[in-house]
């Protein structure tokens, strides 16, 4: 069975929680005791019907305030695929949560209310999905029941959104008219919208082609941990454990180890279940090489004729995630990139990007919570990276504040800075 991770964006008003509740309920992954708890809570809150949205509003503080605080992960499966939903809140102050949920997603569902149309918020969600390079985007036009399942309304919204999306980098865009409350086009095609010839939402999630989304070209193996059993049976064993972050490694391949530049060949690719002939993303394996050269955590094994950029000056888009401190030129931070951690200093902030209008503010002096900007960093030790659009693993990093140890920023590499 394949696995698909998707993120949902939209506010409570768009019916996002109801949509997820509906998917889980119709896919029969809501259990009786969960449903009973929700029924009970609905009655306590004075609701007239069982509020499926409560299925996903987990923490007491959220239920009391009727908002979603944090990314929540939900699970369901059909005979075809296992799904992991990153359910992210839609309010403007929670951009960081959407970015978090989007970072691992194969697909994003942006939800809009058919009556309200394409709001600033919907555009923001689509922009974030494209910034995080989610390969597939679905615009779910919800509450179609409240516009009499009108095809004209759906088509108008589709055109409006398509015009906006043309400015973004979205590889695959689908439009589906739904009613989460009544279940139209969620699992089965709706009898109320015979004019719609496309798949139901669930059918689309089951069928969308994701196998080509990975990078199988640029071989990248960040060394995570060195395995040295030092036992009688494995006296001289030395293996480099890690997760393949791109491309394919095969036994016998010529390899270069960064940063030393030493060359060797792959002796074997090993796992607990026995050796394998080849390893690709996201397999977690142990690579052994034929020459005794010094390799440690933070190094990267690559192919000699296809190497990542090695640089200390990095140009990146950064989403700032902290309310107490802000990012400004001169800020000193810790960067975690693949299995490397080192210090960085912020050299420059080129511009702050308005996520609603895509306007670039070049006069901005700092990045604050939920703001996104283009930043140049200088690292203490060189990093081995690819552009984020080419490789989400070797093109991403997080920034950590040394004083509080909190993760304060998320970055997507554009290239090396001159």
């Amino acid at each position: 069975m394949e696995m698909l991770r998707f993120a949902t964006a939209g506010s409570v008003d768009d019916g996002k929680s109801t949509l997820i509740g509906r998917l889980l309920y119709d896919a029969k992954t809501i259990f009786e005791d969960q449903f009973e708890a929700v029924e009970k809570a609905s009655i306590q809150m004075g609701a007239e019907y069982t509020n499926l949205a409560l299925l996903t509003d987990g923490l007491r503080a959220e239920r009391e305030q009727g908002i979603t605080i944090d990314v929540a992960y939900r699970y369901f499966a059909t005979p075809r695929r296992k799904f992991i939903i990153a359910d992210t809140p839609g309010h403007i102050q929670y951009t960081r949560n959407m970015v978090t949920g989007a970072s691992t997603a194969d697909l994003a569902i942006v939800l809009i209310d058919a009556r309200k149309g394409v709001l600033e918020q919907s555009k923001r969600h689509a922009f974030l999905a494209s910034l995080l390079r989610i390969p597939h985007l679905v615009l779910a036009v919800n509450k179609m029941d409240l516009v009499d399942y009108d095809q004209g309304r759906f088509e108008a919204l589709r055109h409006e959104f398509r015009d906006f999306a043309a400015k973004l980098n979205i590889a695959d865009l689908a439009f589906i008219p739904v009613s989460a409350l009544h279940g139209d086009n969620i699992v089965d095609r709706s009898a109320n919208m015979s004019w719609y010839q496309g798949p139901s939402l669930l059918h689309h999630l089951e069928e969308v082609h994701i196998a080509s989304d990975r990078n199988l070209i640029d071989a990248r193996f960040p060394v995570q941990y060195v395995i040295r059993p030092q036992s009688d049976d494995y006296h001289d064993y030395r293996g480099y454990a890690g997760t393949v972050a791109g491309g394919v490694f095969r036994t016998g391949d010529e390899v270069t180890v960064l940063p030393s530049g030493f060359r060797s060949t792959v002796k074997s690719i090993e796992t607990f279940d026995g050796p394998v002939d080849e390893a690709f993303s996201p397999m977690a394996v142990t690579i052994r090489i034929n020459d005794e050269i010094d390799v440690s955590r933070g190094d990267m094994i690559v192919r000699p004729n296809n190497q990542p950029t090695v640089a200390q000056d990095i140009d990146a888009m950064v989403c700032w995630m902290n309310e107490r401190i802000s990012l400004r030129p001169g800020s000193r931070l810790v960067i975690k990139h693949t299995t490397r951690s080192t210090k960085v200093i912020v050299r420059d902030l080129s511009y702050l990007l308005d996520v609603n209008t895509l306007h670039r503010d070049e006069s901005a002096a700092a990045l604050s919570l939920n703001e996104i900007g283009r930043v140049q960093l200088r690292s203490q030790a060189p990093l081995f990276f690819d552009e984020y659009r080419r490789n989400r693993q070797t093109g991403s990093f997080v920034l950590i504040d040394e004083a509080t140890n909190v993760t304060v920023g998320a970055g997507m590499i554009l290239g090396s800075a001159s």
Binding site: E2, F31, Q224, T407
Partner: protein, 303 residues
């Protein structure tokens, strides 16, 4: 013929877990794996073994022992630890009671559940553990759906759901100060069904109480509890023999059995796929206390 570049969901989940184990082992000084004898911690231990093979586990295994154990589970624990050549640390609730560190509840509904938290936090401090692997899954319970893979705990061992660190891609922030620690959940993304399918695929041995067997039980709060030395019957509670199995294994005095005839892993998978009640809802008296029971206990430092 060459293999395809597809990985099944179970292989992808396993790879993610292996990555997490190695990351923690690389970045922390003194991690420890919390082992309850339940299927989730057995699966976790199995993946840990795979992550570091052919080396032994680079960390200790800790059992927070309430003293109310299923004999089969203790036997299983000791055998498995010996096979792995791992180091076992037992944090005993009974010893903590004897030493006057905690006070035992009394009465027929007495539970050692809450006492576990204090005993766990004490052991963390005593052994200076800085990262603890737990077998919690996000599909188990609402409060867990929002838990990070690396769950940061302050010097009092407490969880603050509103102040969690953002967690992006597979980049985990393991920086802590002295006295603080993190809880790590390598199998966060497994569902109950994934766990059972993985047990089947990997042919992982599990304690016999998970399979259908005849047991003397009685009904309390619409759950079937086992009779035994750790529990006192209340008026009107009549023991009877039933064919049951356990869906979760924990403290014997508050873990319920379910009626079942599933005596093989295949039959359990069939049963889990068809079931309509969550495993915690069906079998854990401790979660029934209030709707936010788990949220509250987690904040206090429970696993």
């Amino acid at each position: 013929m060459r293999m395809s570049f597809d990985l099944t969901h179970l292989r992808q989940l396993e790879a993610e877990s292996v990555h997490i184990f190695r990351e923690v082992a690389a970045e922390f000084e003194n991690p420890c794996l919390l082992f309850s004898g339940g299927k989730d911690s057995i699966v976790m231990l199995h993946i840990a073994q795979k992550a570091f093979w052919p080396a032994k586990l680079p960390f200790a295994v800790m059992h927070v022992d309430t003293g109310h154990n299923f004999a089969e589970v203790l036997e299983f624990r000791d055998r498995r630890i010996a096979e792995l050549g791992a180091r076992l640390v037992v944090a005993s609730v009974q010893e903590a009671i004897d030493a006057g560190m905690v006070t035992e509840e009394t009465g027929p509904r007495a539970s050692r559940n809450r006492l576990q938290t204090a005993v766990l936090l004490d052991a963390i401090e005593r052994h200076r553990f800085d990262a603890l692997f737990g077998g919690a899954r996000r599909d188990e319970e609402k409060a867990r759906a929002k838990e990070r893979v690396y769950s940061f705990r302050d010097e009092f061992g407490q969880w603050d759901p509103k102040n969690q660190r953002p967690e992006l891609w597979s980049l985990y922030n393991g920086r802590i100060r002295m006295g603080e620690h993190i809880r790590v959940f390598p199998i966060s993304n497994y569902t109950e069904l994934d766990v059972w399918q993985y047990i089947k695929d990997e042919q992982i041995e599990i304690p016999s109480v998970y399979f259908a067997h005849q047991r003397e039980v009685f009904e309390r709060d619409s759950m079937l509890l086992s009779t035994g030395p750790y529990i006192t019957l209340m008026d009107g509670e009549e023991p009877f023999i039933e064919r049951v199995r356990y869906r979760t294994v924990g403290d014997m005095s508050c873990t319920g059995a379910v009626e079942s005839s599933a005596d093989t892993v295949d039959k359990i998978i069939e049963e889990v796929a068809a079931t309509r009640i969550t495993e915690r809802g069906a079998t854990r008296a401790d979660d029934k206390v209030s709707e936010a029971a788990m949220e509250d206990r987690k904040k206090e430092g429970y696993f």
